[in-house]
């Protein structure tokens, strides 16, 4: 569904490694295994195609995470324990409103278009057209009290 050109030209290998560690914080895999984590749905390729304008800022945010990880834990972000990763991201999001918001929004867009996610939600992996969907017609007898109350518009001179 989405082509996957190599995103390496836009983000460094180190940034991609940090990104990979962040994605499952945004959408983790479900405990029952039904839903994948965001790190499993091709977000880097999606960003490269659909959000290229965001990559410079995203790169800076990923670098900042990496710097904080080294400063506090003396190792890279990707090497941290999950609780440590969460703590750092939450700290930065609290300090800097909007930190990684764009990444989160683009991640959700990629995630909720992916076949594995559709399957996890019990949806068919297809576009709306041409098959469409069934919708129940509904019970028009519910209109009986509306009819009974009668006309509600004003006559005009």
């Amino acid at each position: 569904m989405i082509a996957s050109p190599n995103p390496a030209s836009a983000l460094t290998a180190a940034q991609l490694q940090t990104l990979d560690a962040v994605l499952n914080l945004i959408v983790p895999p479900s405990a029952d295994g039904r839903m994948p984590g965001a790190a499993e749905v091709g977000v880097p390729a999606y960003l490269y195609i659909e959000a290229a304008d965001a990559l410079p800022v995203l790169g800076e945010e990923l670098d900042e995470l990496e710097r904080r990880a080294h400063a506090r834990y003396t190792r890279g972000y990707a090497s941290l324990e999950q609780v440590e990763r969460i703590a750092l991201v939450e700290e930065l999001r609290a300090q800097t409103p909007g930190f990684m918001n764009r990444l989160a929004m683009e991640t959700l867009a990629c995630y909720y278009q992916h076949d594995r996610v559709f399957e996890g939600l019990g949806m068919e992996t297809r576009p709306p057209y041409p098959k469409g969907y069934e919708v129940v017609q509904g019970d028009l007898s519910l209109l009986d009290p509306v009819r009974a109350r009668g006309k509600i518009y004003r006559d005009a001179p």
Binding site: V27, Y112, Q113, P127, P128, Y129, V135, G138, R147, I152
Partner: protein
Amino acid sequence: MTDDVDVLIIGAGASGAAFAWSMADTRMRILCLEQGDWMNPGDYPSTRRDWEVRQEREFSPNPNIRGLTQDYPINDADSPISPLNFNGVGGSTILYAAHFPRPHPSDFRVKSLDGVADDWPLDYAALEPYYAVNDREMGVAGLAGDPAYPPHQPPLPPVPLGLAGETMARGFNALGWHWWPSDTAIATRDYEGRAQCVNLGPCKSGCAQGAKASVDVTYWPVARRAGVRLRTRCRVREILVDDRDMATGVVYFDEHGIEQVQRAEVVVLACNGIGTPRLLLNSKSARFPNGLANRSGLVGKNLMIHPWGMVRGAFDAPLDSQRGPLSCCIWSQQFYETDRSRGFVRGYNMQITRGLGPVATARMGLARGDIPWGAGHHEAFARRYGRTIGIGICCEDLPEECNTVTLDPALTDSNGIPAPKITYRLGENTERMLAHGLARGAEVMKAAGAWDVYGEGPVRQTGWHLLGTARMGEDPERAVVNGWGRSHDVKNLFIIDGSVFVTSAGVNPTPTIQAVALYIADAMKQRLANLFD
């Protein structure tokens, strides 16, 4: 120089198409210039898995986001509402919801009944035959007998309520409030060569099925078969006039960006409530230094946009609410007619909308904090996806001269033509109306059983309804065109789009825009021998 024509229509949207269709039987030489292209339904987002993202970008209703070469930018920095449109054969009907309510008879007598704004120079009874013709040509679905309206018979059965519509209907019934299945310009059965709606959902990014009545699949094929010519990728820069104050034609840029002149006996503007004043204001001359047909000074003034409120409710039960025509389900006109005890005059329509797709659900949830990052994400998403219903609050916007379309001193389109600038604010009456609508929307959501309800308004990206900027009226000092669309200042210049609205009513305007265009076409045909007298 190109061949002369009798009637030159500028703009191939809702009004231009209906007008062209009606005028075709005169056998005159009729040409329409459209700045956009023909649409290919196979390109519409619903044919692709990534439809939700596509509809936010190249199919965004906001021309400043869409940014196609055939679009013109709009400076909307001085407005809480962004104007929306589409430039192509079909105009904004390509992306509209096809929600198709008529106004009420009282909407044409606002001054007489409520003491505000002005009465229209025509009334509901005069337009009713044209609404009926338009319903037939567009293929309107609905249910006869709505007590909010004088009797009328939509030609097709209504769109399905779905579980979402039923749920809301029970909420309205619990409160004793009016509701009814919406009139909708969607073919609910195979109709005049168009396939039946199959509930694709994203109607507002083009209908790949062809069930939605965008005018590229309704009026235009018939009008062209009858001899009307339509030339695309032609952007009009200026309307030309002679020293007798008669329009002689237009200057436009063709698809190669080359300037052309098109001569015409009659010029008809169908460019919407922003495009039409923009073109008039760009057509300055020694005889019209303030813009063509603007001796009243009212071109570009009295802009009305319909401030829009949005209430959403989340329900426990699965409703499949993401399925079906997104913005067409049921309506309520419980608060449509004036009741001064509410603290405002006039009123609003409540338009029940269905749920959003998975991407929009997740993103909106994240933005609001309802669907978090990390732990709890999947559970929160599941509680809302397919279980959320919306109510759009369409507030009547009263005309105020401070709400304007002017020319931006710096911004231009891709041909270098000055772009429009919007200056707009909500009036006090509208503010009170919107607050009332949001509160009543929340009330009915709770009555219907929603466990979470939230609302906002005015919603910025809702400026679909562009009205009032070249109003009609019989007094040349208080109106730009007369009661049948003819410019008071230029006797062979007609305006047939939403610019001519005197007031905005509280409903989606497309049926009225088209009924007025058909009315003006008939008025012209009845006066062909002395059209310019």
